[in-house]
Subunit: 123 residues, 2 copies
DNA sequence: CCGATATTTCTACATGACGTAAAAGTATTG
DNA sequence: CAATACTTTTACGTCATGTAGAAATATCGG
């Protein structure tokens, strides 16, 4: 899967958090508004990044409207799950990894994990 | 965390699978022996990669012995767990992600996951 | 319909990671 | 000490990414 650079990541975060599709200008403004990094990127920069994200399949664009409108192709969670599966690989040591991983999560998470597992199992 | 290139990954795999520390020459031979890629890398290539892996903290080297001997600093599983946590991030959507992730694992794995969870909970 | 303006596409460059290895330096050993 | 083994230094090509100017194209007010 495609890992993301810092800017790509920021753009995806904005798209994931937005209910509406966003334009390159929307994104540039939102990026400039973030934290202390009032960098004011050029719109072309944002467009380049969007094109790359589109090629990676992470973003869909509406070419029908004039300022093209961009949306995330899949949810943030689905994307993260993809990353998890990438990290886990097809290796045979999945269970060993999961065991260690679970050993490191919080008690709270252990509880909800269990709840999730229960609901899955019932299906 | 540091993600690995193809060669770096191959080297780590060999180190992870080896009980003994390995030398650059050991690794070069082992790499040449892998599958159909009888590339016969130069030893300096292997040494460069090892130096980079050392800088990344993934590999430790014994400088005392003359042909330096290299070992993986942490287990493959621990490394993978690190990747998992990187992928999950510190975000608040961990549970949503875990829910989706678990929804996608096999029944077998669900069972062992449950077993693992049980043992953890008892602690 | 036209010129001004907005938007997109094309092209470009710097940086850093990675694969790759020759050249040069240093240690070992007969 | 000379030959050999090993390590460090230096180097280059490629690719991903951040960044944006130039060029092309579409839109809009008049």
């Amino acid at each position: 899967m495609a890992s993301l650079g810092d800017l790509e990541r920021s753009v995806m975060d904005l798209l994931w958090d937005s209910a509406e599709p966003l334009t390159a200008n929307d994104l540039r403004d939102a990026l400039a508004a973030r934290g202390t990094d009032a960098k004011e990127l050029a719109v072309t920069t944002v467009l380049t990044v969007l094109a790359r994200l589109e090629k990676k399949g992470l973003v869909a664009r509406e070419r029908s409207t004039r300022p093209h409108r961009y949306t995330a192709s899949s949810s943030r969670e689905d994307h993260t799950v993809g990353l998890l599966n990438d990290a886990l690989g097809t290796a045979q040591d999945r269970e060993a990894v999961l065991a260690r991983f679970i050993g490191g999560i919080s008690a709270d998470e252990a509880v909800s994990l269990r709840a999730i597992l229960d609901s899955v199992k019932t299906v």
